[in-house]
């Protein structure tokens, strides 16, 4: 048991630094053009929680490789989600980024 967390108080934190995480720099991938948008990274951070192996296998969510959904249906599902199964990403991605996600899914190999 550490009765006094004293040693940690000499940390590298600069006094006056804003500790509000909402002001930390956002990832450029969230708002940037599709050319900067790394879908593989997006899957590893967010989508892969449910769509296993980068979307190659079913998990909590369905397998995405070889999906029978049309592009528009995939985009609608990403935007609107499905209650209790998939979050609605709403305006998190712009049109170019959504196209990049669809392109990633279409390009998935087993």
């Amino acid at each position: 048991m550490a009765d006094k967390p004293g040693p940690m108080q000499s940390g590298r934190h600069t006094p006056g630094t804003n500790d509000n995480p909402s002001t930390a720099p956002a990832s450029p991938s969230a708002t940037g053009p599709a050319s900067d948008f790394d879908v593989n990274q997006l899957f590893a951070s967010t989508c892969g929680w449910c769509h296993l192996k980068g979307g190659r296998e079913a998990g909590k969510g369905p397998k995405l490789a070889d999906t029978q959904l049309a592009d528009g249906e995939i985009i609608a599902r990403i935007r609107n989600g499905k209650p209790g199964q998939m979050p609605a990403f709403g305006s998190a991605f712009n049109d170019e980024q959504l196209k990049a996600i669809v392109g990633y899914i279409r390009g998935l190999k087993p």
Binding site: H13, Q41, S45, T46, W49, C50, L52, G84, P87, G90
Partner: protein
Amino acid sequence: MTRSWHVAALSLALLLLAGAAATAAEIDAKRLMNADKEAGNWLTYHGSYKSWHYSALADINTKNVGSLREAWSHVASRSVRGLQSYPLAADGVLYYSGSYNQVWALDGATGEVLWQYKQKLNEDLVAKQTHSPYNRGIALGYGNVYMGTLDGKLAAIDMKTGKVKWETKLVNSEKLTVGFTGAPLLVKDKVIVGAQGGEWPDRGPIFGVDANTGKQLWRFYTAGGEENNGDARNTWLNDSWRTGGGGGWMAGGYDPETNTVWWGTANPAPLYDWSGPDWKTAGARPGDNLYTTSVILLDPDTGKLKGYHQEVPHDAWDFDSATGEFIMLERGGKKYVVHPSKSGFVWVYDRNAKVQNVWRLIKNINFVQDIKPNGELVGRRDMTAGKHENLCPFIAGGMSWNMGSYNPKTGLLYKVGNEWCMDLEIVKTTPILEPMAQLNIGANFNITNPKGDKAHGHVSGRDPITGKLTWEVKFPEPPLASLLSTGGDLLFVPDPRGWLRAYDARTGKELWKHNNGQGHNGGIISYRAKGKQYIAVATGWGGLAGDDYPSFFGGVFAQMPKDSGVLKVFALP
């Protein structure tokens, strides 16, 4: 039903409720302190501050459990992701919560609805959340039902009327995407509640709120601590504490003798770091990453950090410590706190969080070679970017968040263990904060069978201090619901396929079973109403761990509903 009959029935129900309230003492600090002496009630999430999840009631016992029958049931509306909550019982009234922050008060003997509460939620926000819209429990006290909400509030609802008394916004969920799903803990005149965290790029705060006014009294950030209160930001190089994860998403415990709240904290973010063995200086979040994957000891009055033990320094496997109950025990004149964890290990502490022993509940563990009895990790498997096979246990844990049960009559701790593993590919990621905070996992992965074995679960009865096994029962899939043991020498195990089973708590012999028609992923209690003992269990499937069952285990899970919740209540004829 005619209107006059309806009015008469409602009047009678309110009269009965008022009568019960008039004869019962208010649930206050003193009553909660002695909750373990009230066998007929279940006043707090863990049963009492001892966190035994045990009922001393013995009317239903090994000799007559074969006659146990369903007495009544209640359908929880809009049960998206099933029913994951824990019922509470006070003076003949049963209270429980459901998805979308609904709460019901029911006559404990008949199931008659006394009132129903639906939280007004920001539904656009809820639709964006992944770990949602379930609620895992409530707290009772001072005439209120306390509930953390999906959109970051703590609400106090009048126990008699079901009307909201106050709400306090604690988390900017619209910015951070996360809110509250775990049960609050009432300690003296404070409500303690922990936010979701871990997978999201936030700092996982725990709050202390005035139980009467709703005023926020203190906050403690589990990722990095607070300035002048356990400031540990130097354990996160490159300012990585800003998006460090953490959180306290399950109800903690309380030790009245030392006036100390014990809370388990969640994992750092990203879950999977690519640093490899250089994690002290390299990777996504170099350093120990205090106070993630830790047990922290807080003063309930001030939120001051009194102590801590980090069970897994620089957790790189999502084996956070938020999951386990804090079981208060005395053995041979010594006082212990036993804390099971998602890692598959069980930590045994003294009342000052000094490690006394660590033991394994499951076989398939290889994220470390071992953890010594003094708590030291040996042979860490720190991974770099790229593919890795056969990491055990699976991300859902060697134990999930469902509670075990300690029975003082048998001296055994009953706990579910999960035997499963995973393959993964670790990918370097950047936290996404705008326009909505997104998960920060850091890997693609899939569930696998352990080498030379098939994934499965088990329920065992063990010595809580040494881990010595008395008996074990295997299940083809890990049960994901909480357990209940009773003074009638019974252990109730709600299983994933829908069977509620009762075992002889001393031998593990199955004595009774009943099919509830859908999987279990919530709580179970026993209580007394109008002189009779009841067993109440939450049914309903669709939690995050169970979401992998259809694709991995198949069978009955392929068709099991994920939007259905029913509270089932059993009694002897």
